[in-house]
Symmetry: C2
Subunit: 303 residues, 2 copies
């Protein structure tokens, strides 16, 4: 295995102004691994209950996601329900039921533990540490987190931060973690906590990479209709890590390319509900979108 | 004259967490013309009272701003006072006194009217039309506006929009004018109202140019300390129009370059109060910052 991911798997009910879905595949590891799968095989670690549909397992398998790390236990799968208004930056959480996820104890199959690239999706930082303890082959580790852990498990979170190469988080989380309103200062402050690389996601405003005094900025793809923003951040991380793992290096040009790949995968993800856009997505569409990003940001050389 | 601007001139009191100034030079035409002056001579049209300090006129003259279009009349100069908190995107207006600006009737000296490049800064749209009626030599006209005119003078505003080549406005104004929450849809809608080019400023998130299906995005320069954001949008417009006027063409590469120049001038402007940063700004600093923008956005070519 080249790339492994550990995170949540859920069944989501999502309602937006453009429709709704029920019991749709969700969770950070699901979005991440499907996005990353367009760049290569992904080792998937998560937990589901006996209500988890076989069709979702098939979907992952069909995208070359290795599900040997998927624990299936008695009980109900993690459930989440949310509703978005026309301002897709705001959402109401209607339901959160941890169910079997509450007792998740991630265990990496040996070949996952030997993988050089590892992504710690948004789970309790103490579980992220538990995964790191197993990942003896990891040479490049990235992590995500959320406001809940920044508020409730900061000391555990700081221990993980000190051990990873990269953190991918959104701008409000970055400001909260660094205790500053300035997102540039926040990126520098977080990098000083451990990760050499800090990737800040800014939703409709794009994302930027910070490392050792250098910045790389990419806009969000200009979409006129966002159908469902759920999972966009996880898909960003999936495209980002997928490209790095496939490239096999972490030089600055590859990292910048990975930020663009992440932006591209995130932009596809929001074009349909749940992970549905990935059912039809092609390599050609991904390459075209990356080229479109280039055209939209290419620095002008005076004619 | 190659480039003319018509707009407000004021004396501002500004307070931010980093200090305050009183009776400092402000107004859209002041910020615009000083920023544009780094690219060439600017013909300045505005109105001030007999309290306007000679030192401010000298500052403009020293920057090769032509002030023959500056009307000096009896009475008090336009006054504005505002206060910013740590969130520099929010400000409280403490005072607005139109004074002599209330009866401003812009008149272009003949050589200003013959200028090929014209910027209509934020004044009543009927005055913008009055300027356009005089500008017989204009071959590229850009305009600004604000929420106040969108709400209170929409029909007049639409008449101006139908006559200009370009509008430069911020994202909230774009959404309001186009009546849509989506800023991409807003840009397209506004372009359909007349201007071939729409430039949307997004504060700390940068700016983008839209024209005929094409986009160009640039981030804001990553500043850790913004001292005073007043006038940043006008400085953006000044750098943008200044570069276009100096280039003498409006091809896509020049327009993109102009967006970067605007972003650079805006980023300098906010580093100090009022127009003070321009007192010491050098051509070398501008070129270095434009090069820094290039480095931060250069699309990665895989190593």
């Amino acid at each position: 295995m080249n790339l492994s991911v550990v995170g949540s798997v859920g069944l989501d009910d999502v309602e937006t102004p453009f429709g709704k879905v029920e019991l749709a595949l969700g969770g950070s590891a699901s979005y991440f691994s499907l996005a990353a799968s367009f760049f290569g095989r992904v080792g998937f670690v998560g937990i589901v209950g006996d209500d988890f549909p076989e069709s979702s397992v098939e979907l992952l398998r069909n995208h070359d996601v290795d599900v040997r790390g998927l624990q299936r236990v008695a009980g109900k799968t993690f459930r989440w329900a949310g509703r978005y208004g026309y301002d897709l930056n705001q959402r109401d959480t209607l339901l959160t039921e941890l169910n079997v996820f509450e007792h998740f104890r991630p265990e990496l199959p040996e070949d996952y533990a030997a993988a050089p690239y590892l992504f710690l999706a948004n789970i309790h930082p103490s579980l992220q540490s538990h995964v790191l303890d197993q990942a003896h082959g990891a040479k490049f580790v990235a992590m995500d987190t959320m406001n809940f852990w920044i508020e409730g498990a900061l000391e555990d979170l700081k221990k993980v931060l000190a051990r990873v190469d990269c953190i991918v988080l959104n701008d409000s989380e970055a400001r909260q973690l660094a205790k500053t309103p300035n997102v540039i200062t926040a990126a520098k402050t977080i990098s000083a906590m451990g990760p050499r690389l800090v990737v800040v996601k800014r939703g409709e405003h794009g994302a930027f990479l910070y490392s050792e005094g250098n910045f790389f900025f990419v806009p969000a793809f200009p979409l006129e209709q966002v159908v469902d923003p759920t999972g966009a951040g996880d898909c960003f991380a999936g495209g980002f890590m997928g490209l790095i793992a496939a490239s096999g290096d972490t030089s600055w040009p590859t990292l910048c390319h990975a930020v663009v790949a992440g932006s591209a995968l995130a932009s596809f993800s929001v074009e349909n509900f749940s992970v549905d856009r990935f059912r039809s997505l092609t390599q050609g569409e991904i390459q075209d979108r990356i080229a479109a990003f280039e055209a939209m940001t290419a620095f002008p050389t005076r004619a």
